[in-house]
Amino acid sequence: MNGGLRALEERVFDRDLCVSCGACVSLCPYLRSWQGRIVKLDECDLAEGRCFNYCPRGKVDLNELHQRLFGGPYKEIEMGMVRSVLMARACDSVWAGRVQNGGVVSALTDLAIKEGVIDAAVLTDREVNLLPRGHIVSGREDIMACTGSIYTSGPTLEALNRGPWTGDERIGIVGLPCMVLALAKMRTSSLEKRTPIDRVDLVIGLFCTWALDYKPFMGFLQKRFGDRTIGKVDITPPPERIMKITAGDELHDIPLDEIRSFIRPGCHVCPDMTSEFSDISVGTVEGEEGWNTVLVRTERGEELVKRAEAKGVIESQPLPGDKLSHLKEASLLKKRRAIDALKDRGELEDGYLTLSRELIQQIQSESKEAP
């Protein structure tokens, strides 16, 4: 995993693979996030740097990461290591209406802080101009400011790197799969200087199919809606797949085909739909509004979910079998498409992702194109 800023520039920025997760920002003076992009300000000639080391599009060996974090080889090719799967929703009505779907992420974060599992959490909120940014929260009101999504990625992990931290708080993070992957790389990094990663005790990963590039998407919205305030943004589940967006007082439908060109190229090569290196991953439930799919991956994830159920913070039921198999199909399909995209780019061999030939073949043979 050698390489510094030069490698980051050559292998990530120049290849347009940066997903703006923020893992490389606020570690040094050379990189800064600006309007949804990560910008190099000056040359750094170090042979090895945290920027490239942590980058989820730097070098990723899924098997090695899996081995080190879960103690075994990567073989659950559909959704990664999963201890249990459920369908859940937050019980407290305070979350209703604010959250995407079931509110499980907000409710679990809230509980984790309240119970002292963590002292603070790094979430993502939006600036006035809808620019996503990392935000450190330590209470319910702050969490409420970070609910919802506009499907643009932002440098959430910058907040982890930047702080401010006192130095002994336990930290939770909610992030997209790329961010969760970057956290996994931080955790397993052999570089001497560390981020506060060793105090990160809870990682809640979100499901993600892709994210939009902030600046062009905002340009599109501005052209379409002028100065009207953009409110909630939602994408309906397949097969409809329409972006529903509140601009001013009206709800508008935007077919996905109109915004597809704003998807970050770095998302097309992402094999991870369900944040496979998280403690808990949360997403929608196909065809069930107001519920979340919850994948519990680690012991501490399991502990928190159990505690949440016991305290009545969330309620759950088993995820119906057909929904689970659809989820697996979709997740595997994302992997298949990432492999195809890497192949098209000529980067399957010497690209960022290291996957064994067997795994590639397995993904190719087991995945099915969506109906």
Partner: protein, 636 residues
């Protein structure tokens, strides 16, 4: 007392070439001197400014060279003697007036000194200004020594009055900036009352009549030059090789001939009056040699003029061999030096000369390479321009549209190199940065999406940026001009200008407020502190991205050298050795490797940065860039 004002006729003193010129002007009894500073000419008017009160002179730093020549010409029109000085680029600016002035002629002696910069040691070009003499049918003198610099200047006023024409005196860096012995003459104190003779209007029309008159004046100048003591020959009656040279080339030729012991074989015709040529004298010498070598800087001016003269007389003169810059015998770019002339003579005359053994030369070079550190041109410690370029660099990087700086002439021209983080991508004449940026701004309509930032210093602004800014406003361009107001004409030696509230001779003057002027010229104006790099970066970004039209951001901080003379340090600086990350990930020597203020030094053994107390000016700017807050500032 200034050495140029020393009233001791008959005494020999050591003067810089430019001081000798100033002394010559004093001995000629000038009343007015006007100039725009520019290396290597600045000390002429600078030293006259210092004695202006004592001699009752009007000495001014004009806003540009054209205006300077006009001011000096007015003195001449009113019957007084006027001097105008400038560098070679300045003559381009003044040329529009000069090429009308030649037709109107002048009254009192009017001398225009142009200091050329062969090798472009401190210029954006190395043009040979002598071409203007030929272009404008004007007499041209070229001093070769310090004594000549004084004597020629003095005589140029007599010649100017005799011909009724301005006279050009062309000097070069090695004459202007070196020192030598000069014999002092009387210092007159003229008391003539100025008066413009309205019966003799100075109007170029009718052009053909005046042009004819000009040609006649020039012809007479040629006759006068035939007997000028500034032209002379040294050498055998019939030399094997005739060197024709002028100005700095004469000394180089003398040294080369002496070192090679060629006095019996080579003759040197040294010309002090190079346009028009003293034709009979030149023809006479041409007739006595079959091979002629021209030694001059920078262009083959003398060479081609002599060859023209030869062509008209070749039937009588027969075949000749000519060597020089035009024939590729001598380099046609850069400065000359005795070694170049020596090596040329060796080749032509097949003589061997080794000043030092090759082995010695190699060893000496090795040692000097080890001992002399490589020092790229850079901003001084505490220079506000470094901070400005840091903000520009970051703003353009964040903007992300491959923006660039259209540059201009001044200390901030160093923005082309590492000291200004290589942000400047165009550099031409005074004011051209803003003119170009205004032009780029018009290309937005055709799809140019790169932001362009013009930079200008305060002195440059008054010189030539105002028309460019006016143009951008009038033609509705999209322009961001950063006015780097360091309250001085810093690069040429801190001459005052219209924004400083002082005149050349130190008197109070009204301050012409940059902010008010820019507003009047239609710009939206903001003022910032370049030392606040974060705020400056944000302001630049906002003006580039969110504000249409013509914008001027005045970044105001006094030049560190000016500040150092009058004020204490702002801060005591220190690098906390425990916090400094050095080369480790997270910093990698940002302060000493990228920011590179000379006040910061890299301690290789400790692997940490340190403050060089002797050089640090205590501006405090570097504290802002240190990622680990190791650079600390403490208010003095």
């Amino acid at each position: 007392m200034s050495i140029i004002a020393q009233d001791t006729p008959g005494e020999t003193v050591l003067l810089m070439g430019n001081e000798a010129i100033a002394r010559g002007a004093l001995e000629a009894g000038i009343k007015v001197c006007a100039a725009y500073p520019g290396n290597p000419s600045s000390e002429i008017t600078g030293s006259l400014a210092g004695v202006a009160d004592e001699f009752g002179l009007h000495v001014e730093w004009s806003v540009n060279e054209k205006v300077a020549l006009e001011v000096a010409a007015a003195a001449s029109f009113a019957g007084l003697r006027g001097l105008c000085t400038m560098k070679q680029n300045g003559l381009n600016v003044a040329s529009d007036f000069l090429l009308n002035l030649n037709l109107t002629g002048c009254e009192g002696g009017l001398v225009l000194i142009v200091a050329d910069d062969p090798g472009a040691l401190s210029s954006s070009n190395e043009e040979d200004s002598r071409a203007f003499a030929k272009l404008g049918d004007l007499p041209l003198l070229e001093p070769a020594t310090f004594q000549e610099a004084k004597a020629m200047t003095k005589w140029a006023f007599d010649l100017s009055e005799d011909l009724g024409l301005p006279v050009l005196v062309r000097t070069v860096t090695r004459v202007s900036h070196a020192r030598g012995n000069v014999l002092l003459d009387e210092l007159p104190r003229p008391t003539k009352k100025p008066r413009f003779d309205t019966s003799r209007p100075r109007i170029a029309l009718p052009v053909l009549t005046n042009h004819k008159l000009l040609r006649e004046k020039l012809e007479r100048a040629g006759q006068v030059f035939e007997t000028s003591p500034f032209n002379f020959y040294r050498g055998p009656e019939k030399p094997e090789l005739l060197i024709i040279t002028c100005g700095s080339g004469w000394m180089y030729s003398l040294e080369a001939v002496a070192n090679l012991d060629l006095n019996e074989r080579v003759g040197i015709l040294k010309l002090g009056t190079t346009w028009p040529l003293p034709e009979q004298m030149v023809l006479n010498h041409l007739s006595k040699a079959d091979h002629v070598l021209f030694v001059e800087e920078v262009s083959p001016f003398l060479e081609n003029n002599v060859k023209e003269l030869f062509a008209q007389n070749c039937v009588d003169l027969g075949l000749k061999r000519f060597s020089g810059k035009a024939t590729g015998t001598l380099p046609d770019i850069g400065e000359l030096n005795p070694d170049i002339v020596i090596s040329t003579l060796q080749d032509i005359l097949e003589v061997f000369y080794e000043p030092v053994s090759a082995e010695y030369a190699l060893r000496a070079k090795e040692i000097s390479d080890q001992l002399v550190p490589e020092r790229p041109l850079g901003f001084c410690a505490g220079c506000p321009h470094r901070a400005t370029y840091w903000a520009i660099k970051n703003a353009l990087a964040l903007d992300g549209r491959d923006g660039f700086v259209a540059g201009d002439i001044g200390c901030y021209s160093l923005g082309i190199g590492p000291s200004g983080f290589s942000q400047m991508k165009t550099l031409h004449a005074m004011g051209s940065g803003t003119g170009l940026a205004g032009g780029f701004g018009q290309l937005n309509a055709f799809g140019l999406d790169q932001p362009v930032i013009a930079v200008s210093g305060d002195s440059t602004f008054y010189h030539a940026v105002m028309p460019a800014l006016t143009n951008a406003s009038y033609n509705k361009s999209n322009l961001l001009l950063l006015l780097l107001d360091n309250s001085a004409t810093a690069m040429t030696g801190f001459q005052p200008h219209p924004g400083t509230g002082k005149t050349a001779s130190g008197q109070d003057a009204p301050i012409l407020d940059l902010e008010v002027i820019c507003k009047a010229l239609g710009a939206q104006v903001e003022v910032g502190d370049p030392f606040d790099m974060k705020a400056t970066t944000e302001t630049i970004l906002r003006l580039l991205q969110d504000v249409e039209g013509v914008k001027v951001l005045i970044l105001r901080r006094e030049c560190a050298l000016v500040r150092g003379r009058t004020q204490k340090k702002l801060f005591n600086m220190e690098v906390d050795q425990d916090l400094c990350l050095g080369e480790r990930c997270g910093c990698n020597r940002l302060c000493t490797r990228v920011f590179k203020c000379p006040g910061l030094i890299w301690d290789e053994i400790a692997g940490r940065a340190r403050i060089d107390e002797a050089i640090c000016t205590g501006c405090g700017v570097c504290a802002e860039i240190c990622p680990s807050l190791a650079i600390r500032k403490e208010v003095v």
